[in-house]
């Protein structure tokens, strides 16, 4: 093992935006060969710190400094940060999706002879780095054709190839399946062995305990504490983050289960999913667990009408329904909270009010003219009901935190009185406090007699919340497991789910 030395130190950093003090004297220190978790609720200042370090934001002039290997640095631009050996990987990989892997690797500095690109060299060099890190990707692949996980690994390899000393991973597993996360972690461990310092940002506690050496906690733009990971437990960290102890994240109450609401029989789509059959009862949460690409999202979007299917019947409240378009799903009282709320759920440039009301304009208008009063009342109602934190309902949705955005999506569907909610990865990119709030919301929905289908690749969540879990592997239904057959937090039970989801019976 190498001697550990200090790579990056941030001291007493302040950052003020017009009207907001985002950072009030925070600090962090990263050693070589260390994975250092940075945790805190949304708005705690994690991203702001990263952006200051990466040269996106300029720190306040009277603030303390950023030291690289003991030397104070004034980081002026992202490009400058890269030159100094600072790199970042964001959850939605920011690279050129239409170009191939090697081009992405050398973007902006393609090897050339008198302006003619030396492709052979570019591919050779790229392949070398990929092999060194055991990443199974062909340098000639178009980046966009790879899975998100692979794209992320390419991004990481690129940072490594740039001789980066300190790398920041911002929610790297948010869009990954459990299996892909394992691969990502082995990659992170390799980087660590090579002496890189890593700042790891994640909302997922299990990951933090699995991969990191130390944890720094921020709260409301202030530094709280830095602890050795082995010396603390999850409850302790959550306590530091939110200032209160969270007894049991997933402890929601359940109502009496009612009659069957939805009955799906033999739902099939060629090469995507096959013979999916299940019932859903009133007041119940059915979990859908599977790896990314297993077809779980395709199944629910077929039920909603967003995509087509070949065979099978969908019976809602005893009546067979035909869903040919999202409109049909909506009219039948089905709500669909998609996985990627930014791109398929919200209208980011529009206000919270417009996002809440978009499905309900018919009810609040006559001859196509919308009643302003109804609009405002309805939006107000949901802002209050769901405790959406925003200065005003006219706030552009883009400016809200992840948790509040998710609540806005939810309010859109509740405003339409959907009785069956399909929720795809409800807490991706949502901080711990807002997560608990969303779970409580789901609880109150169940008590109102609604039924929920929930997709989650996050096992503790699905195990903690669902009444039954259907496991999907490669489009096939591997079984439906009732929640009295497993225990939350039991390692062997978790392994069983992962095995099922990998297609091992």
């Amino acid at each position: 093992m190498m001697e550990k030395f200090e790579l990056l130190r941030v001291e007493n950093l302040h950052k003020t935006f017009p009207g907001v003090k985002a950072l009030k004297g925070v600090q962090i220190q990263v050693l070589s060969g260390e994975v250092h978790a940075l945790v805190g609720e949304n708005g705690a200042g994690k991203s702001t710190l990263i952006k200051c370090v990466m040269g996106v934001h300029k720190k306040d002039s009277q603030s303390g400094g950023i030291y690289l290997e003991g030397k104070e640095c004034e980081i002026t631009s992202p490009h400058h940060a890269m030159k100094l050996g600072l790199g970042a990987v964001y959850q939605d990989v920011m690279m050129a999706k239409h170009l191939n892997v090697a081009e992405n690797f050398f973007l902006g500095k393609l090897p050339n002879k008198l302006g003619v690109i030396d492709w052979k060299f570019a591919h050779k060099k790229t392949t070398e780095v990929l092999q060194e890190l055991d990443i199974d990707v062909d340098s000639k692949c178009i980046l966009g054709s790879l899975s998100i996980a692979k794209q992320e690994m390419v991004a990481i390899a690129k940072i490594y190839a740039n001789k980066c000393k300190v790398a920041v991973f911002d929610e790297p597993t948010a869009l990954l399946s459990t299996e892909e996360t394992v691969i990502l972690f082995s990659l992170i461990k390799k980087l660590k062995e090579k002496g890189m310092g890593i700042i790891y940002i994640s909302h997922r506690m299990e990951e933090i305990f699995e991969i990191t050496d130390r944890i720094t906690v921020f709260k409301d733009g202030e530094y709280v504490d830095t602890v050795n990971t082995v010396e603390v437990d999850e409850d302790k960290i959550i306590e530091l983050m939110v200032g209160r102890s969270v007894e049991d994240m997933y402890g929601i109450k359940k109502p009496e289960i009612g009659k069957t609401v939805l009955s799906v029989k033999g739902l099939s789509k060629k090469n995507v999913f096959d013979n999916i059959t299940f019932d859903l009862k009133k007041g119940e949460i059915l979990g859908l667990f599977g790896l990314v690409g297993s077809g779980r999202s395709d199944i629910v979007s077929a039920i909603y009408g967003a995509t087509s299917f070949d065979k099978g019947t969908i019976v809602l409240n005893g009546k067979e329904i035909k869903v040919k378009s999202p409109r049909d799903g909506i009219n039948n009282g089905i709500g669909f909270l998609t996985e990627d709320r930014k791109h398929t759920g919200l209208f980011m440039e529009l206000s919270c009010r417009d996002n809440t009301n978009v499905l309900s304009y018919k009810q609040m208008s006559r001859f196509g003219i919308i009643s302003k009063k109804d609009e405002i009342e309805n939006a107000d109602l949901f802002m209050e009901k769901l405790k959406i934190k925003t200065p005003s309902m006219n706030q552009i949705t883009k400016n809200l935190s992840g948790g509040n955005q998710q609540k806005v999506v939810l309010s859109k569907w509740l405003s339409n009185d959907s009785e069956l909610l399909i929720i795809d990865e409800p807490t991706v990119g949502v901080d711990v406090g807002a997560k608990v709030e969303i779970y409580k919301l789901l609880e109150s929905l169940l008590f109102q007699g609604k039924s929920i289908i929930m997709i989650s690749s996050y096992l503790p969540e699905v195990m903690g919340l669902a009444d039954r879990i259907m496991v999907i592997a490669e489009g096939k239904q591997m079984g439906i497991i009732s929640n009295d057959e497993y225990k939350l937090g039991n390692f062997e039970d978790e392994q069983k789910f992962i095995k099922h989801a990998s297609g091992i019976v």
Binding site: A306, S325, P326, R327, G329, I330, N331, F336, T338, H343, T344, G345, L346, F347, M348, E349, L350, S351, R353, D354, N357, V358, L359, Y361, K362, S365, G368, I369, I370, K372, N394, I396, K412
Partner: protein, 323 residues
């Protein structure tokens, strides 16, 4: 000073501006400063005759720009409006010349214009052709059609009742300006208060979210391009009346003026941001610069350069203030 104007503005217009108050206010302030400057530096600027001419000339571009605003709000673009101006101006004048009653000629010509928009919408949505290409195609096709039906000849000798409309005024205000005003009010109402209007913003913001929210994309896209073509058609008839003739080449390049007015007025080419009021201010600002340039005797070539720079600068300034 600007901030107090801003707060008064938002009090007055309320909450429907989709967060674009700042860019609208910027344009309004620039326009106000320019007008005050011209009032003091030219004796002619603030005279009834000059204002009459300025607003009459702006009205035709202004109507087209309103239609363009609908299209740009969905994230699209409509290059065919200039040709549609030519189409309705030729068709209406040909029919009037052949003895068809004026009102029927106008209605039929407008339907021809709307048809172009419907085809644009269908090609864009069902053919999945990018709006730029689809409307570039229809722009060329329609211009060809115009020359074909008119034999590329000018049409003159129209009835007085048609040609006098553009010259006359009502309550001291040019008739053409009344038309623009009515179009502005209706368009503002549609965009801010109707389901169709909200759908325009929703589609421009995120088409996939809109589809998953049950919004009928095909119908709304067709409506939007039909609206743009219809308003271009109205402008064509206004122009035919003003020129007292149908000219096959008329309207060429108008699409660029309409886009410029829309963009200067703060509507983002990426969609969902902006609105009618900005476009109206943008139209007036561009017209005032042209008018003021002539009054102050600025070299017209230099004026051209200044307008070009303004368009680019306006977009940069708005991006800055939007942050």
């Amino acid at each position: 000073m600007v901030s107090s104007i801003k707060s008064q503005y938002s009090k007055f217009f309320g909450k429907d501006k989709k967060g674009t108050q700042s860019s609208v206010v910027t344009v309004a302030v620039v326009l106000a400063i320019l007008m005050i400057y011209l009032t003091f530096s030219s004796d002619v600027f603030l005279t009834y005759d000059n204002m009459f001419n300025l607003f009459r000339a702006t009205s035709i571009y202004g109507v087209i720009a309103i239609g363009m605003t609908f299209v740009i709000l969905t994230g699209g673009i409509d290059l065919s409006v200039g040709s549609v101006v030519g189409l309705t101006s030729i068709l209406s004048t040909m029919m009037i010349k052949s003895g068809t009653p004026v009102n029927i000629s106008i209605i039929l010509a407008l339907f021809a214009g709307i048809a172009v928009g419907v085809v644009n919408g269908i090609v864009i949505h069902y053919g999945k052709v990018p709006p730029f290409i689809a409307t570039l195609g229809s722009m060329t096709v329609v211009r060809g059609l115009i020359k074909l039906v008119s034999d590329a000849k000018m049409i003159t000798g129209l009835t007085e009742s048609f040609t006098s409309f553009a010259l006359n005024k009502f309550l001291g205000i040019p008739n053409l300006f009344w038309i623009w005003l009515i179009v502005i009010i209706i368009a503002w109402f549609i965009l801010s208060r109707t389901i169709f209007g909200r759908n325009v913003y929703a589609i421009g913001s995120n088409e996939e979210s809109a589809r998953l929210s049950g919004i009928n994309i095909s119908r709304n896209i067709i409506y939007v391009y039909a609206t743009s073509a219809m308003l271009a058609g109205v402008a064509g008839i206004m122009l035919a009346s003003r020129l007292s003739s149908g000219i096959p080449t008329v309207g060429s390049g108008y699409e660029l003026d309409a886009i410029a007015a829309t963009v200067v007025g703060g509507t983002a080419l990426t969609g969902a941001k902006g609105g009618v009021i900005g476009t109206v201010l943008g139209s007036i600002l561009l017209a005032t610069i042209r008018n003021g340039g002539v009054l102050l005797g600025i070299n017209p070539f230099i004026l051209e350069i200044l307008i070009g720079l303004l368009i680019v600068f306006a977009v940069i300034a708005q991006r800055g203030s939007g942050k």
